[in-house]
């Protein structure tokens, strides 16, 4: 149980549905160091090597650097890696001399505990954590005088297309860095060029020649073999498991006006007190820019809000010179006011829309936080198909809420960290939404084969824009994909067929799905608060797919340097991880596996579109499970009647898939109503009485009290043996008689009473 109301990582969490308004960030790694007295020590980057593998639009970069400590001090290195948005670290290692120490992903708290323990002994583990989206750091200690410290980081990135082109960028620490590029799937590539280096390309090999500019970047521009408005996809599948798929479609960058849909645009501007000054000034300027650029074929309206809501027109109005002037004057008159009622403003803006065939677009700009549930309720209650594009300004904005609002209303979320960037960001946003190319998109994988699809709602496709979809794939045989939408007044269907062999290994595809799923869960936690179920799934996915995030870190540590206590923590952490990996292969889970008669919930992971999921219990009950959208699984609860004997039982599960295929399985639970058997011993050792409780089974907890004054409560300490608990009492203060209560894992209790201490 956790009493934090807001997760610490909220400000740095990844967000879905970002509009990538800038080109992919430069990847960059840098090691800085400090001497024991705190003085900065400049380390020399002696060697640098980048190995880049491009597969479709995915790039895996292995960055190897050697840093030299030229000082006469032993220093601690602090490495900061910026990989950019839509990226994550996939590996981390460093060298002790010629020995490579390879990092593993562990639960963050375990990794931190081991790191602190080992560094406390003066040894040198490495710990890599996520600081913010696309920003990671790790510490290396110690780096001895004159030592050359080698580090290696592997990071993955999805490169979004603009038209047919996508770009790989990295900022180099050394202009003369060794650069190696390979193309894993040459058939997906049409052309490769570089504005920074001479390159030649043939098949899988890209030869990188001398630099041709004076900068520090390495840029590769790649033209996709697929045309725009065509589906591209990649599949990964482990034998015997459901496959993963990444699907993308790109819009052309040049779209002629007849292909652009006429639209209604409503600008919603936050004028709350926190927007006063530069933010509101820039927001007004940005709104004026947008209004000035709207074509005469569109309609426009303006809604302004703080804790109240005002609007200019009862419905978006046809743009004439007079209307445009009226809107601009209205925008200019906006003055800052009170609080921030996002729900009220959104509800009003949604209610003011025309109900005709034109797309309705709301651009919602705010810097504040508001009642998230109320705002989501308003968004979900709107039955229309108004698109909501949210723009969040400043670090105080409720990013998860704006992201979720945009996601659910088929729009996108744009985050603007600095008020000065509002105007250019709004202009770039407008460049996109001014030209919707295909709207009302829906993806069909045939026979419900696509499961756990993200994003849950497909946004519209705008000029120069790309939509990426990740999903799990069920069933056998080729996957026939159809993306349907509306282009102008025409219906458009983009089709492709992807092979889904029994095994095809492109692990990055699975990781893309897991990253997106984790982002969605983190967003849910940010909106709803953390609970054990969400926490557990994020943690399990992160460990299973080796993702570094709020709950996980990379830990690289030489086994020889482990302290005894760190060794124990590491062993436990590895055991837990192995258990999670094993459990992730199992489709079935009971919420409590060891139980007395009671009412646990049975959860079965089966496709949402399954025709039926049945559970047959050993005591004669047959339950139809129901789909639980929050748990993303099928659930039922059941009572184990009191007459059921102790023992291990199977629940037989039948899943009837959408195609009629039946899948059978079992999950086990244990009924345990037998109380533990105890041996309680006392031993006087000097002035203390040691009380040891030994049971015939693992115990949950053990307490003792004074038989005469039972308000005293002493909790016994667990030992390495889960059957043994102990405590020590001062002999002078020990009760005459104690009552010991031991509880096993099914909460069965045993009471034992005994006299304590020799002096008694």
């Amino acid at each position: 149980m956790n009493d934090r109301t807001e997760p610490w990582w909220l400000p740095v969490m990844l967000l879905l549905g970002f509009f990538l308004l800038t080109d992919s960030a430069h990847a960059q790694g840098k090691l800085e160091a400090r001497a024991p007295d705190g003085a900065a020590v400049k380390l020399d980057l002696a060697e640098e090597r980048l190995q880049i593998t491009v597969d479709a639009q995915h790039a895996r970069t292995t960055l190897k650097q050697t840093w030299n400590n030229p000082s006469s001090s032993r220093v601690e290195g602090s490495y900061r890696l910026q990989t950019g948005e839509s990226s994550t670290v996939a590996g981390f290692s460093y060298w002790n001399g010629e020995t490579k120490i390879v990092g593993e992903v562990f639960e963050r708290e375990d990794a931190r505990e081991i790191y602190d323990d080992v560094t406390g002994m003066g040894n040198d583990p490495g710990l890599l954590e996520q600081d913010a989206e696309g920003t990671f750091s790790f510490k290396v200690f110690p780096i001895e005088p004159g030592e050359r410290k080698r580090v290696e980081v592997v990071h993955d990135r999805w490169m979004a297309r603009a038209g047919r082109w996508f770009t790989y960028r990295a900022r180099l620490g050394r202009p003369t860095a060794q650069l190696e590029v390979s193309i894993a799937s040459p058939k997906t590539v049409s052309t490769i060029t570089s504005p920074t280096h001479e390159i030649t390309w043939s098949g899988k090999n890209v030869k990188v020649g001398p630099r041709i500019d004076a900068g520090h970047d390495f840029i590769v521009q790649i033209q996709h073999a697929d045309p725009t408005l065509a589906l591209s996809g990649a599949v990964h599948r482990n034998a015997g498991q459901d496959a993963y798929v990444v699907i993308s479609v790109a819009a052309p960058t040049n779209v002629t006006s007849p292909q652009i849909v006429e639209k209604d645009v409503t600008l919603v501007i936050d004028r709350s007190g926190s927007m006063s000054g530069e933010p509101l000034r820039n927001a007004k300027a940005a709104a004026a820019d947008v209004v000035a650029r709207l074509p005469a074929t569109d309609r426009v309206n303006v809604v302004v809000f703080d804790d109240g809501v005002d609007w200019l027109f009862p419905r978006p109005k046809e743009i004439t010179d007079e209307v445009r002037a009226q809107v601009l004057a209205h925008v200019d008159r906006i003055r800052d006011g009170g609080g921030t009622d996002i729900a009220g403003a959104l509800g009003r803006a949604l209610g003011l829309q025309n109900r005709d065939r034109r797309p309705n677009i709301i651009v919602f700009l705010t810097d504040g936080q508001s009642d998230a549930q109320a705002a989501l309720k308003v968004a979900r209650a709107d039955a229309g198909d108004t698109r909501v594009f949210t723009v969040g300004v400043g670090t105080g904005v409720d990013k998860p809420l704006l992201s979720r609002l945009a996601g659910e209303k088929r729009g996108r979320f744009t985050f603007v960290s600095d008020a000065a960037a509002i105007e250019p960001a709004m202009n770039k946003l407008y460049d996109r939404i001014a030209a919707p190319v295909v709207v009302n998109l829906s993806l069909d994988g045939g026979d419900g084969r696509l499961q756990r699809v993200y994003p849950k709602t497909l946004p519209d496709l705008f000029r120069g824009d790309e939509i990426k979809v990740v999903a799990r794939v069920q069933g056998e045989g080729p996957l026939n994909l159809t993306l349907r939408g509306q282009r102008g007044r025409d219906e458009l269907a983009m089709k492709t067929t992807l092979a889904v062999p029994t095994q095809t290994i492109r692990p990055w595809v699975g990781r893309q799905w897991a990253m997106t799923r984790v982002d969605d869960l983190l967003e849910e936690i940010a909106l709803q608060g953390e609970n054990d179920e969400l926490h557990t799934e994020v943690l399990e996915l992160s460990l299973a797919y080796e993702l570094v995030g709020p709950y996980t870190s990379f830990l690289a540590i030489p086994e020889s340097e482990l302290t005894e206590s760190a060794s124990g923590v590491l062993a436990n952490a590895r055991a837990r991880k192995e258990a999670i990996l094993r459990a992730n292969q199992d489709a079935l889970a009971l919420s409590r596996r060891i139980m007395p008669p009671g009412d646990p919930v049975l959860k079965v992971k089966a496709p949402r579109n399954a025709k039926q999921v049945l559970a047959r219990f050993s005591f004669g009950e047959v339950h139809d499970l129901q789909w639980d959208p929050d748990a993303e699984g099928w659930t039922t609860r059941f009572l184990v009647p009191k007459g059921v004997r102790d023992g291990a039982y199977d629940v037989e599960i039948t899943i009837v898939h959408a195609d009629g295929r039946m899948e059978m399985g079992t999950t086990a639970y244990t009924i345990d109503s037998e109380a533990p058997q105890l041996e309680v011993t006392t031993q006087v050792d000097g002035d203390v009485v040691r009380v040891t409780v030994t049971a015939n089974e693992a115990l949950r907890e053990v307490f003792l009290t004074d038989e005469d004054t039972p308000t005293l409560r002493v909790k016994l300490d667990a030992t390495d043996d889960p059957k043994v608990f102990l405590t020590e009492l001062l002999e002078d203060e020990a009760p005459v008689r104690i009552r010991v209560v031991a509880t096993d894992r099914a909460r069965n209790e045993t009471v034992s009473t005994l006299r304590v201490g020799a002096r008694r």
Binding site: M1, D3, T5, D371, A372, Q373, A374, Q528, G529, E530, N531, D532, E533, P596, P597, G598, V601, K611, Q612, L614, R616, G620, V622, D624, Q626, D630, T636, R637, L639, P641, K642, T654, V656, G660, M662, S673, F703, L704, T705, P710, T711, R713, R739, V741, T743, R747, E749, V751
Partner: protein
């Protein structure tokens, strides 16, 4: 739970009327003269010509249980429950005997107009289709023969009187409401319900899916801020709505739809199950690991095995107007906590307790072996003829006592009734 009306022990004297839901059809036998339908709510008889339900047999008619797996036609009509066989006699009552346990056949994946098919029977060109949502005739398309207006569940976990209506919360079948205590209509909302509280701001619903408020117009509003979602009890202390999740006690200003910061693990419990309040502001909690927990101002007192109770496993707690608390333990009976004095409540039908509540000065106790009313003077009256021994909820409504079991709801104090079709919701009329 709140309720109106006097609860007189005398009203318990007669046999109860049984309310059951017959939506789930397990087996059908059709002849030119009779259509017999074995359901989760008893045995139905339909007229094969008019297709109207003419009769429903329940435990009030001698059945050993309401959940019937099979009906067979020989010299006599026989039905099979999980472990008994019942034969219909000439007196139109069933006589039951123990029989080998039977397990229902599973027809996975068979669908009729989107509903899961559990049974089929042919009669001439017509096929009767039994689903998890009622009985249909194949030639009448989507017209359901099972009468409307039935309770939403046979397994109610919570009952409450609110705004002079009877509300029923199901173990797994959602929420429904009745104006007259006989005809029910479903209410959209959570599926797995644990507790109900009538309040002037609305009906508060504690459910596995969270805490909700139902307004008079039927609008269901989720209460934000409670995580994890599983809310197992709800109470009112005169100032705040109180709700429990396993790890926390939550407080809510009833004018708002968001819970405030919770009190985590009061009394060091990780497994809260229930909350109730005394008139002096004392809060009582039941927990699976710390028994009963009393919160009086800043003082937190734990009553568990360590403190001398027979068990630390509490499921429900009730407190009377004198501040005496009653803890329902999983399998060690009902424990009375009067100040520092702890004693066991004698003469209950079973030591496995499921529910305890105070109503009109009487202590109502549901167990896994029946139910009892303990009057203020200490006399104990066992309720007779319950449709199932496991009793989970009580509510007085319009002079009657509704007792919810795991398989059907018994109504005491009503006209003694044989369960003619028109006695149950829907008046036997097929859906138009």
């Amino acid at each position: 739970m709140s309720g109106a009306g006097l609860l007189a022990v005398a009203l318990l004297a007669g046999s109860p009327e049984i309310l059951s839901a017959t939506h789930r059809v397990n087996h059908i036998e059709a002849t030119p003269d009779h259509v017999w339908v074995a359901t989760d709510g008893g045995l139905e008889h339909y007229d094969p010509v008019s297709l109207e339900r003419t009769r429903v047999y329940t435990t009030a008619d001698g059945l050993a249980g309401l959940r019937l797996w099979e009906v067979t036609l020989g010299a006599r009509v026989q039905v099979h429950t999980a472990n008994s066989r019942c034969t219909l006699g000439a007196d139109d009552r069933f006589d039951c005997e123990d029989a080998a346990a039977t397990v229902p056949k599973v027809r996975a994946g068979d669908r009729f107009h989107g509903r899961r098919v559990l049974a089929r029977a042919s009669l001439g060109r017509r096929e009767f289709v039994g689903t998890d949502d009622g009985l249909y005739a194949s030639d009448l398309d989507t017209r359901r023969l099972t009468p409307d207006g039935q309770p939403c569940t046979n397994f109610a976990m919570a009952l409450a009187t609110h705004r002079d209506r009877l509300w029923m919360g199901a173990f797994e079948g959602g929420l429904c409401v009745s104006d007259d205590g006989r005809i029910f209509e479903p209410v959209d909302g959570p599926r797995m319900i644990n507790d109900l509280l009538s309040h002037r701001r609305g009906l508060f619903v504690a459910a596995n899916e969270g805490l909700f408020r139902v307004d008079d117009d039927g609008t269901v509003t989720p209460i934000a801020g409670i995580q994890p979602r599983g809310v197992n009890a709800v109470a009112w202390d005169g100032r705040r709505i109180l709700a429990t999740t396993p790890g926390a006690l939550w407080g809510l200003d009833p004018r708002r739809d968001r819970a405030g910061a919770p009190r985590w693990m009061p009394g060091d419990t990780h497994a809260l199950q229930d909350v109730t309040t005394a008139g002096d502001g004392t809060i009582w909690l039941a927990s699976e690991d710390r028994g009963a927990i009393r919160i009086r101002g800043d003082e937190v007192r734990v009553f568990d095995t360590l403190a001398g109770l027979p068990s630390s496993w509490g499921l429900r707690v009730a407190v009377d107007h004198q501040g005496v608390a009653y803890l329902a333990t999983l399998r060690n009976g009902l424990v009375k906590i009067d100040g520092d004095e702890v004693s066991a409540q004698p003469d209950l039908p079973d030591t496995w307790i499921l529910e305890t509540t105070i109503s009109d000065g009487n202590l109502l106790v549901g167990t896994q072996g029946g139910a009892a009313v303990v009057a203020a003077n200490g006399t104990v009256e066992h309720l007779r003829d319950l449709p199932h021994p496991n009793v989970h909820a009580f509510a007085p409504f319009r002079g009657k006592l509704y007792v919810a079991t795991e398989s059907g709801t018994a109504v005491y104090g009503g006209a003694k009734a044989r369960n003619r079709a028109r006695n149950q919701g829907g008046g036997g009329r097929p859906r138009p």
